[in-house]
């Protein structure tokens, strides 16, 4: 393997290790149906390097905080569902308030989430946001980087004791079985939007996990979902959709025509509707209010309390947004960097500026996965821009030492 690129970031560090891509990896990707390793002519999956963590870094700095923050987030849900003021502040349409409260009270089961952290290799990882509703890069994390490690160990390019923080697939299979048991079903419908290989690939992966759990797993595109005269949603074969995994944001669904049937259809939703509180950037100032000074949190403010902010440099994020869109970096009121996009009509929140670690021209972001309430692994993404977007590259990681 190549020489270490050591980057001193504060005192200790993360290692970014250059390595040779497996000669047959593209062929393998075709074999396994990994279609989006290259997107829009740009590499997305990048195995010309990997990140190396120690077990201590993983367990103390990422795994434990992930579990703890998730619990803090659940506490926020509990407060928000019981407060009209907060429901308003979170921009949840009024017609769903009762349904969200009921879904929360019933403890409808959640499948997965991804917390995005800024982590420099030592010191506490800082939470950027919680992708609690429709996280992607799941296939790359749960399976593809697992296979990469397996191949490199098998060909002696990595030590036998090299490990990876990645029990995603194992946990997803179990959790899908748990959810089916909870709803007393043996079939889960799966859905994503048309014209996106990435989302379709993510959902296919979950279908494969469901199949492994012994569940049948028909697919229907979001746009093809129908409403039946009996009141339930249907797939293209007119079959009723009892339980639906939707890789489609709650905040979109709640504002669309079929939103009126979300409740009356009596669908079992994955993710459950109470998750619309967590996939919402209003979560960040709420967490800060409740746990001010927590080492894994960055100071964050609602728009109307910006006067409280003592930080000179802030990041402005829309309450609802995806993949870095409409995020800007502001210093003393002046916009320094801005990512354009179609979001922002529901307002913004502000978060203290805390830059990502840099390796040459790459800004590195850690995604930390949860399946239900258990930490289940990490993903590493690199972007040439400070604001990581949907075209940032995915790099595998290992645990050594």
């Amino acid at each position: 393997m190549g020489k270490r690129e050591e980057k001193w970031l504060g005192r200790l560090d993360l290692f970014r290790m250059p390595c040779s891509p497996r000669p047959n990896w593209q062929k393998k990707a075709t074999e396994f149906g990994f279609k989006f390793h290259t997107m829009h002519g740009q590499p997305y999956w990048d195995e010309s390097a990997y990140y190396q963590f120690t077990l201590k870094q993983i367990e103390q700095d990422l795994e434990d905080p992930t579990v703890e923050i998730h619990q803090m987030c659940l506490d926020v849900v509990d407060r928000v569902v019981n407060s009209e003021k907060l429901l308003q502040q979170f921009q949840i349409p009024k017609q769903y308030w009762q349904m969200i409260a009921d879904s929360w009270q019933a403890q409808e089961p959640s499948l997965y989430s991804r917390l995005d952290f800024c982590y420099h290799g030592d010191g506490p990882a800082k939470l950027y946001e919680n992708n609690a509703d429709t996280p992607t890069s799941l296939y790359e994390s749960g399976f593809w980087q697992w296979l990469w490690l397996q191949d490199l160990v098998d060909t002696n390019q990595l030590a036998r004791n090299a490990d990876q923080f990645n029990s995603l697939q194992e946990k997803l299979i179990h959790r899908l079985a748990d959810i089916a048991r909870y709803y007393k079903v043996d079939m889960l419908h799966f859905s994503s939007c048309k014209d996106t290989d990435e989302d379709r690939g993510t959902v296919q992966y979950l279908q494969d996990c469901a199949a492994e759990a012994g569940l049948s797993n028909p697919f229907v595109y979001i746009e093809d979902i129908g409403i039946a005269k009996e009141g339930c949603f249907t797939d293209l074969g007119d079959n009723p959709i009892t339980t639906l995994f939707k890789l489609y944001p709650w905040e979109f669904m709640q504002r669309e025509e079929f939103g009126d049937y979300i409740q009356s259809s009596e669908t079992n939703w994955i993710e459950p509707i109470w998750k619309s509180i967590l996939s919402n950037k209003a979560l960040m100032p709420m967490l800060w209010k409740l746990h001010k000074g927590h080492p894994n949190l960055l100071p964050a403010y609602f728009e109307d309390e910006l006067a409280l902010a003592s930080e000179a440099k802030l990041v402005k994020k829309p309450i609802y947004s995806r993949e870095g869109a409409n995020i800007s970096i502001i210093e003393n009121g002046k916009t320094l960097v801005e990512a354009h996009g179609p979001y922002g009509e529901e307002g913004f929140i502000y978060q203290a500026y805390f830059p990502l670690p840099r390796f040459e021209n790459n800004h590195t972001l850690i995604g930390s996965w949860l399946v239900d309430d258990q930490a289940a692994g990490i993903s590493v993404r690199e972007d040439t821009s400070e604001i990581t977007q949907d075209l940032s590259r995915y790099l595998p990681h290992v645990i050594l030492g």
Partner: protein, 201 residues
Amino acid sequence: MTRKRSASINLSRLRKQFSVKPLALGVASVFISACSDNRQEASIYKDIEDCVSKNPDFAQQCETAYREALVEAERTGPKYNSQRDCEHEFGDNQCRYVERNSGSFFMPFMAGYMLSNLLSPNRYSYQPMFTSYSPYSSYRYRWIGAGGYDYGDLRKRNYRVRPDAFKPKPTVTKTMKRGGFGSTVRAKSSWGSAKKSGWGG
């Protein structure tokens, strides 16, 4: 040292190119084709003995496929709330009681299984078969698939079929309208991010 990654992964489940996917998942049905080019030979056997006697060199496959077909039969076969309804369709003493997490119901015994590609080095395809002995049923003495497809007279054992997607059971619902979800994506796409690859995060 505790292992931080999945202990093992079933690679064949995730392999997409060389497996006939729906069959590997066990959700495929094989349908008789009138005008398709990629038809293949398929035979129906009543049980393992029947299969082995006709394919003495493939006893192991006969047995494995039978067990797989049984599982598939329970998963996709017709299910009824009452014994009476089930026996009305399939005949006296042709139904059994099944209790599952999802509830309890009555379903017909598997009457046989259809196999194709048994001799192929790739994986064979299988499909549970049912039949009816009920004088009230149009399926009486016919081979039928889990989805209700009629494969013909019980005496007929060899077919030319083509692989096809899983055919859902007869519909119980009339869809009034489609397209009520997805409009936000259309709106946000027209904003002009040609690079947008997905709507997850």
